[in-house]
């Protein structure tokens, strides 16, 4: 029996030695390894090659399996987190900031010239919190309308040119909605994927008051926008209802993404970003056009980007900061522009002739639309006085109730505002030191 236990003990020791020996070393062939937590996009290989070329004393490795926010926070607080952490939206950035794991890179960025002023104007809100810089954008861009030229031709509708109003947009969407041969189901829908927050801006409204002290979804601009969006589905019937969305996804058989339905020729128009071209470039049959989002009172679109941030507790923070220089470099920016993974974070690079005409894709004559739309792109509104995920959860519940027609847009927007405001009050009460900042913001909001 003793021999058995001794054997098990020796085996475990051996396995531990093997595990330790095969653990990736931070020093790799005389280079320091920088760990970047991001998704395993096919473009990463090329991006890593550019980084390694630019910084020969460093080796960049990605950790795509470690993208869960709670894991990142726990690991980082425990001192073993990744060096570079990608945030996929402003809510994530705010959550990491509130968790206290992000490095303030303001001073280093000023010395290196990787400051917000070289980026698109809207990016500043995404990389700055309380006037300090916490990251650098990786692939910013606006949401636009992508349209299928074949469906437009089939319905004898002229392609959209330049800015258009909501009314014009609805008329086009209705014409692109084609009934199937059995007249029970639609063969195509005019539009899919429109976003309420954007519609609220386009109608002159906001999600929060300027300082974020109260939710303003109960204001007429937001309610009208919600009504307009619901009308697209249930009044004009040019956008699929929730059950039609579900059915289309199943019938298409390519998953539930709006992008795959558009790729399959089931949608006349969708709201999407430039990265959709990565998929559509592989489908030579689809002829695409790009138009700005329509509006009612103000032109507006959502500024969307990943933001790369640095781990405050990283042992290699100074080395990892080179990643910010890499993101600001011309080689990286051109890679993003050429691969259509949205736009280069440095604005100047999108005004080079190379951006307008990619010789590999001569049919893409619409790149100027993306540049133009960046002028009215806005970051999603978050309040510093509530957990952004809590506010989002409340908002989505009311959207569900509205889409289920259990509530009218007026009831849903008023209910959401009331509950989010209660969440703000609760968060301020429970967060030490926030009350003074909140009181000051309330005074400014008035």
């Amino acid at each position: 029996m003793k021999k058995f236990f001794l054997g098990v003990f020796i085996l475990l020791v051996c396995l531990s030695v093997i595990a330790q020996a095969t653990k990736p070393k931070r020093q790799f062939a005389g280079k320091t390894r920088i760990i970047w937590t991001t998704d395993n996009n096919p473009a990463r290989e090329q991006q890593i090659a550019i980084f390694d070329r630019q910084f020969p004393h460093l080796k960049l490795s990605i950790d795509p399996t470690n993208n869960d926010m709670s894991k990142i926070i726990v690991q980082t607080l425990a001192g073993i987190g990744p060096d570079v952490i990608d945030c996929y939206n402003r809510m994530q950035l705010m959550t990491y900031y509130q968790a206290g794991i992000l490095a303030d890179i303001t001073d280093m960025a000023q010395k290196a010239g990787t400051t917000p002023d070289i980026c698109w104007k809207s990016a500043r809100e995404n990389m700055m919190i309380n006037g300090r810089q916490y990251g650098f954008p990786t692939n910013p861009g606006p949401w636009v309308i992508f349209y299928n030229k074949d469906i437009f031709d089939r319905c004898h509708v002229p392609y959209p040119k330049g800015d258009w109003t909501w009314d014009e947009f609805v008329e086009v969407a209705k014409k692109l909605t084609i009934k199937g041969p059995d007249s029970r189901r639609n063969e195509t829908f005019g539009v899919m994927g429109y976003d309420l927050q954007e519609a609220i801006w386009q109608n002159g409204g906001h999600f929060y008051s300027p300082k974020g002290t109260r939710c303003t979804l109960d204001q007429p601009a937001a309610i009208q926008a919600a009504q307009w969006l619901i009308d697209l589905q249930f009044e004009h019937k040019c956008a699929p209802s929730p059950s039609e969305e579900e059915s289309m996804a199943a019938a298409g058989g390519w998953g539930q993404g709006v992008i795959t339905l558009f790729d399959a020729g089931r949608l006349g128009m969708i709201r999407y970003g430039r990265w959709g071209l990565i998929v559509w470039r592989k489908n030579p049959k689809i002829r695409i056009g790009v138009a700005p989002l329509p509006y009612r009172r103000e032109k507006a679109t959502t500024f969307v980007t990943r933001i790369s941030t640095l781990n405050k507790k990283s042992l290699y923070m100074r080395e990892a900061f080179n990643f910010m220089k890499f993101l600001a470099s011309e080689d990286y920016g051109n890679q993003i522009n050429d691969s259509a993974d949205n736009l280069a974070p440095v604005k100047r690079l999108c005004y080079l002739p190379r951006f307008m005409k990619n010789p590999e894709y001569p049919q893409e004559d619409y790149n100027d639309v993306f540049r133009q739309e960046m002028k009215c792109a806005r970051s999603i509104e978050v309040s510093p006085f509530v957990n952004p995920f809590v506010a989002d959860r409340i908002y989505r519940r009311y959207i569900d109730l509205m889409r289920n027609q259990s509530m009218t847009p007026v009831e849903a927007m008023q209910g959401a505002a009331k509950e989010i405001n209660a969440a703000i009050a609760d968060y301020v009460k429970k967060t030490p030191g926030l009350q003074a900042e909140y009181d000051k913001a309330v005074a400014e909001d008035k």
Partner: protein, 301 residues
Amino acid sequence: MTRRENDWRTALMFLAPNFLGFMAFMALPILFSLIMAFTNWQMTEKVPLQFVGFENLHSLLTEPRFWKFLGNTLYLMMGIPVGIAGSLFLAIILSKKLRGIVAFRTMFYLPTITSGVALFILWKAIYNPEFGPLNTALAGIFDALGLHAKMPDWLLSIAWAKPAIMLMGIWTAVGGTNMLLYLAGISNVPPELYEAAEIDGAGRWAMFRHVTWPQLAPTTFFIVVMSAIGGLQGGFEQARVMTGGGPAESTITLGYFIYQKGFEEYQLGYASAIAWVMFVMIFALTLVNWKFGKSAFDVEV
């Protein structure tokens, strides 16, 4: 060292890996979560860890969402008796000595060994409002009757989402482990009891009522207790895969609520408090089962 001491040492050595694993991965985290349930733990450096006493409990019990999600959990648990009855019925059928019965038993048990996520995706397709086989079949029946009713939007409608998940739960439960337990219980019923009942002229129903059911009482008691515990803990995977907790949070159960508070809102102290409230409820329910179930099922424990 005496032989007795040597035996003790050997026994302890055998127990040590399991005991250490239990301490490291079960007992200590449980104790830790109990302590954290009385704190404002948020996993951030900006909010210092503070002892808040019963504040989490008070907030929880005064939060309407908690009662709503408890209601959702209890609603889904209403399928448990149907599932148990179905398991018993199936076990009786599958206990017959027929050709190929082993294959049938395996087929009915298959859903239990299939990955839950795969099953949930399959059911999501079944529930598809227009192309799902369920609505296609229902529409056929209604059309044949000359009725042209609108078919339910199973997982998208607030009214239908919970019954849909409950129906799927019943399907999963009927052919699952409960059926195996009943099969084992039925095979242990002494055949002479049936022979005696037959001599007395008992019919099939009388035999079930006076022989099978009493003999299965301990099994039924065990199944009821375990199902009640599982029911209170369950619902997370289904909601996560099939509905995301929607529409309008109508399929969020207490288990999902813990996840949402802990890993979406990062209120880990609060999530621990929910877990302990859930533990108290499960414990109380088990005690009630123990107290009244034993006599109801005439079980000696």
